[in-house]
């Protein structure tokens, strides 16, 4: 992960993260961004539980282009509040979106058009605050948002970047297609024979993927279908501890700055309490070549 972030996410980059909404949030990648002291990032996403809040608190963020920033346990994002209200640790620019409009902004970039028209946002004051969304003849034009990098956590991926994801996809496809490049972190690295046995389940074209990182638990505390439950207790703890700047800094030191990598992080978590042990496989389908 350290190498992928170092090589492919420069300061000032526009980065899409947390595109599956509540599950599969690439926290390990986010923590590596913090450890490498990335600056001036623009974060793009719908709802990414507390990941955006953590990155804002660490001073990595110049602009938020998202539908929602907080933490799901409690609502309010305390680092987001401090940055927007008091400029702590730095002031941020906010481009408000809705879940629908951020999806369309990414589809616009994916299809290489300047904007897409939509029927959402009519009558909302978001039309006043986001300079990239405007009403034209009774429709709302949503300007394309093109990430430099989209980072996704998935269940399994092969070394060529063919990622298999199951469960709801949120806006992961449009975020990947719109991006200049994609970093995949995954629970399992599998042989190409596995991924290509079911090409319908491959999320994105391999030509977009520049790095595949084997990172078990890389989305903790968010869940992974078939691998990990959501760690409610740890998410609640972040909500409490980030309430004050001092509390956030202590949290950051303990869970990010003093932790060299995800492997070490996972030894600090009660993983047996969140491991999914049941088995509920889908039926195989026939791809016979005749």
């Amino acid at each position: 992960m350290a190498e992928a972030i170092d090589r492919f996410v420069p300061d000032g980059a526009t980065v899409a993260l947390g595109t599956s909404l509540e599950p599969l949030i690439p926290f390990a990648a986010g923590h590596e961004l913090i450890r490498q002291r990335r600056q001036d990032l623009e974060l793009v996403g719908p709802i990414s539980d507390s990941l955006f809040d953590e990155l804002i608190g660490a001073g990595c963020v110049r602009r938020i282009t998202a539908a929602w920033v907080g933490n799901v346990s409690e609502g309010l994002g305390h680092c987001y509040r401090r940055a927007a209200e008091q400029g702590i640790p730095r002031a941020i620019e906010i481009h408000d979106h809705t879940n629908f409009s951020i999806s369309m902004a990414l589809w616009a970039a994916a299809w290489n058009v300047p904007y897409l028209p939509a029927r959402t946002l009519l009558g909302s004051d978001i039309l006043r605050t986001n300079p990239n969304i405007k009403e034209v003849d009774g429709l709302v034009h949503i300007t394309a948002v093109r990430p430099d990098v989209t980072i996704l956590h998935v269940q399994r991926c092969d070394a060529q970047g063919r990622a298999h994801v199951w469960g709801p996809l949120g806006i992961s496809e449009e975020a990947g297609l719109a991006a200049e490049r994609v970093i995949i972190s995954c629970e399992e690295v599998v042989d190409a024979a596995v991924t290509l046995s079911d090409p319908n389940r491959v999320l994105l074209p391999e030509t977009k993927v520049v790095a595949v990182v084997h990172e078990p638990g890389g989305s903790h505390p968010s869940p992974v279908q078939g691998f990990w439950k959501r760690d409610h207790a740890l998410d609640n703890a972040y909500a409490d501890e980030s309430r004050t700047r001092e509390g956030y800094e202590a949290w950051l030191k303990r869970w990010v700055l003093d932790v060299p990598d995800r492997q070490t992080y996972m030894t600090m978590v009660d993983i047996e309490s969140i491991r999914i042990t049941g088995n509920r496989p889908s039926e195989p389908v026939n791809f016979a070549d005749e």
């Binding site: 599950p23 309010l76 994002g77 408000d96 879940n99 629908f100 009519l122 909302s124 709801p168 949120g170």
Partner: protein, 252 residues
């Protein structure tokens, strides 16, 4: 009749807003429980839609911290991308949506973005999420809120999710909003409803043990009351059983 909390009453009232066979945009927290209650009592054929990219016809087997938790995916009717779910709503196929809010005003407009000026907010709230989409595109919607003067305000400082705008009749239609707007505001004290063509919220029922004076005191605008303000029916035993089954673990 057993005792129940304000929150349990709100969930039961929210569940009754769901009619059988409806497609409901569920969202997070209390509405997840409300959908389960409705599905297992009076609305056995109601389907739930989740913006993460899911459709279900039965509640998840265990407590959910979020709509994307694995138990909400297992047994789903459809696991898909968010834009597909939004497509159904844009076509007017979502009958009812639930939206959370920090502030609501007398015309049912919701603020989840900024208290104070957006350039220099007094409180930066998390933002729309899918709230504005639901407010604009679902056929009708409901919000749940703690009844406090700082939450039920004369005019919200920022309209994240539009209700009936400036309250003039037909405001939504004139501005091209497809959905019908807010059907109810369910608070810890009462249930507000709205006139058919939009306008100002009025108190329809007051919760058991609460008074009109309490409602007036805890609302920042000069409250209107319906022609015959009734008492909100308390949660039934089956409703309470469903609610308690699903909100015990990890809720806050």
């Amino acid at each position: 009749m057993s005792d129940y909390t304000d929150q349990e009453l709100m969930i039961a009232v929210a569940a009754r807003e769901i009619r059988d066979r409806e497609l409901v945009f569920v969202g997070m927290r209390l509405p997840i429980v409300a959908y389960a209650v409705a599905r297992n009592t009076h609305a056995p054929n109601a389907r739930g839609l989740f913006e993460v990219g899911l459709m279900r016809d039965q509640p998840a087997s265990t407590y959910l911290g979020t709509m994307g938790d694995p138990p909400n995916v297992a047994g789903a009717l459809w696991a898909t991308r968010m834009s597909n779910v939004m497509a159904l709503m844009a076509q007017g196929m979502v009958d009812l949506g639930f939206i959370g809010g920090a502030e609501v005003d007398r015309y049912g407009n919701l603020n989840t973005s900024y208290v104070g000026l957006p350039e220099r907010p007094r409180v930066k709230l998390p933002g729309s999420g899918g709230g504005a989409d639901i407010a604009i595109l679902s056929r009708r919607w409901v919000t749940l809120m703690t009844h406090e003067r700082r939450r039920l305000v004369e005019r919200v400082s920022f309209i994240t999710s539009p209700g009936h705008g400036d309250g003039s009749p037909g405001w939504r239609r004139r501005h091209g909003l497809l959905g019908g707007g807010p059907a109810a505001i369910i608070t810890t004290l009462c249930v507000f409803r709205f006139p058919l063509d939009g306008g100002e919220a009025y108190v329809d029922t007051v919760h058991p043990g609460r008074t009109l004076a309490e409602v007036r005191e805890a609302t920042a605008w000069d409250v209107s009351f319906g022609a015959a303000v009734g008492e909100t029916p308390p949660p039934t035993e089956p409703e309470l059983r469903e609610i308690r089954l699903r909100s015990a673990v990890g809720s806050r």
